[in-house]
Subunit: 220 residues, 2 copies
DNA sequence: ATCCTTCCGTTGTTGCAACAACATACGCGT
DNA sequence: ACGCGTATGTTGTTGCAACAACGGAAGGAT
C-alpha cells in the first residue's frame, strides 16, 4: 500500500507516513480493486466500513422508483465515501456506489476507528478528529448551498452567495472560485439567465464585477 | 444540572444518568442562561465548545451584506449547535446564534471530547460515537433534501422525494411525515402548485394517494 | 494571421410555477 | 344541527427564469 499517498489524504492528515502501517492494521484495512462500472456498495446494504479512494474515482448513484437513475455525487482520489452510513450502525444505503473507472479502494472499519484499541494506539485520537472535521466540513458546505438555493428568485440566490463570500473573505471585494457555469450549477440556475441577472445587478448599482472578481456596493 | 434530561439527549444517548456528572466535568461543562433575543454566539467568532440546549430554543441567523437577515435554522431542546464549527479549529462562524426565548445552554469543550482524558473515562468513546452519528445524520438529511431540490421541475422533485420514501420504507405504499405545507417547504415549492401537481400525477397514473398515504404505481 | 475552442454576455420566446383567490372537506367544540 | 378553524384541492393570471440561439472577447495551437 502507498503509505505516502495515504498520509496526505484529509482522513490521515497529521499522521506521519511511518505511523500509517501500524494504524492501518488497527483499522482492519482491506484493499480492493474494481473495474469500471462495477458496483462497490449496493443500495439497501448496510456498512460498517468507510471507503477511501486510492486511485480512480467513484460515483454516488441514486435509483428512482420508476427505473431512471441520477448521479448525485462524485468521490475522487483521496476522498472518503460511505462514512455517513458507517457512522450510523444498521443504516441502509439509499444509493449505489459505482466505480467510474478502474478504481482502488481502501476499506477501514469504523468501529475500530471509534474505539481505542488495546495497544492504546495514539493516532486514533487524530483520525477521529479528522473524521469529525471532514463530516463537519461537509455539513457546512451542504448547509451553505442549501441556504443559497432556498431563495426562490435568481437575484436573491446570487445576493445570498455573494454575501457569504464577502463575509468569508472579510472584505466586500473578493474573487470567487467558480466560473459562470459552475456557479450556475452550484446555485441550481441557468447560466445565461444568471449572467443576465448579474449585469442587471450591476446596472442597479448593487455589485461591480469583472470576470471572477466581485465588489459589493454597500447602501452607504 | 438536570442529569436525567441530559442523559436522554441524542448526544448522551446510551450513557446512564449516574455517569453523566463525571463525564460533564471531563468535558468542562459550563451552563449559561440567556434572555430572549440575546446573542449567544456572534458571526465571525470561532468556538471550541458545542452548545446543548437545555431549555428554550435558539435560532441560527444569517446576516446579509445589505443589512437584511434570515433565520436559517432552529435548534430545540436537547439538540446541539455550533458543533460543525467546534469540530474545525479556527473556523469562524458565518452566522449568529440567537436565543429565541429564555434559554439555558450547556457548553461542552470539543477538544476534551475528542481526546481521551487522563482518567481514561470510558464514556468518551460513547459520546464520540454519538457526536459522529449526529453529524452523519445531519449530513444524510441535508444530502437528501439537496438531491430533491436539485431537480428543476416540480414533478421531478416530488418523484425524487417519493422514490426515496418508498425505498426507505421498503414498500411502494407508505405514509409521509409531512402535511402539504411542510412538504412544500421541504421541497422549496409552492403549496397549491404542489397540490395541483400531485393530482395531475394521480390522473397520469403515476401515484395514488389519500391524505398522507401514498402508493407508487410501477410501470409493470 | 488564421482557425478553433471556450467562456461570457445579450436577446427573444415560451413554459412552468408562484401567487392570489376561492372551493371543498374534515374535525372539533358547543 | 351550527359555526369555526385548518388542511387540502382547484382555477386563472402573471411574472420570472429556463431555453435556444447568437455574437463577441480572449486565449491557444498551428
Amino acid at each position: 500500500m502507498n503509505t505516502f499517498f495515504i498520509s496526505n489524504t484529509p482522513l490521515f492528515h497529521g499522521i506521519s507516513e511511518s505511523e500509517i502501517s501500524e494504524l492501518l492494521s488497527c483499522l482492519g484495512a482491506k484493499e480492493r480493486k474494481y473495474k469500471k462500472d462495477e458496483i462497490i456498495i449496493r443500495a439497501g446494504s448496510s456498512v460498517s466500513e468507510i471507503g477511501l479512494v486510492e486511485s480512480g474515482s467513484v460515483n454516488i448513484v441514486v435509483n428512482f422508483y420508476w427505473g431512471n437513475s441520477h448521479i448525485f455525487g462524485h468521490v475522487g482520489k483521496g476522498q472518503v465515501f460511505a462514512e455517513n452510513y458507517a457512522a450510523i450502525p444498521g443504516k441502509e444505503l439509499l444509493c449505489d456506489v459505482v466505480a467510474c473507472e478502474e478504481t482502488e479502494v481502501l476499506f477501514l472499519n469504523m468501529r475500530n476507528m471509534l474505539t481505542t484499541c488495546q495497544r492504546g494506539c495514539a493516532f486514533h485520537t487524530r483520525i477521529i478528529q479528522n473524521m469529525l472535521r471532514i463530516s463537519a466540513q461537509k455539513n457546512l458546505n451542504l448547509s451553505s448551498r442549501m441556504m443559497h438555493t432556498a431563495s426562490k428568485s435568481l437575484r436573491e440566490r446570487l445576493l445570498s452567495y455573494l454575501s457569504e463570500q464577502a463575509l468569508e473573505h472579510g472584505s466586500s471585494r473578493f474573487t470567487i472560485p467558480f466560473d459562470r457555469q459552475q456557479l450556475a450549477d452550484y446555485l441550481a440556475v441557468d447560466r445565461s439567465a444568471m449572467s443576465n441577472e448579474l449585469s442587471k445587478m450591476q446596472k442597479d448599482g448593487l455589485i461591480t464585477y469583472h470576470k471572477n472578481e466581485f465588489t459589493l456596493n454597500g447602501s452607504t
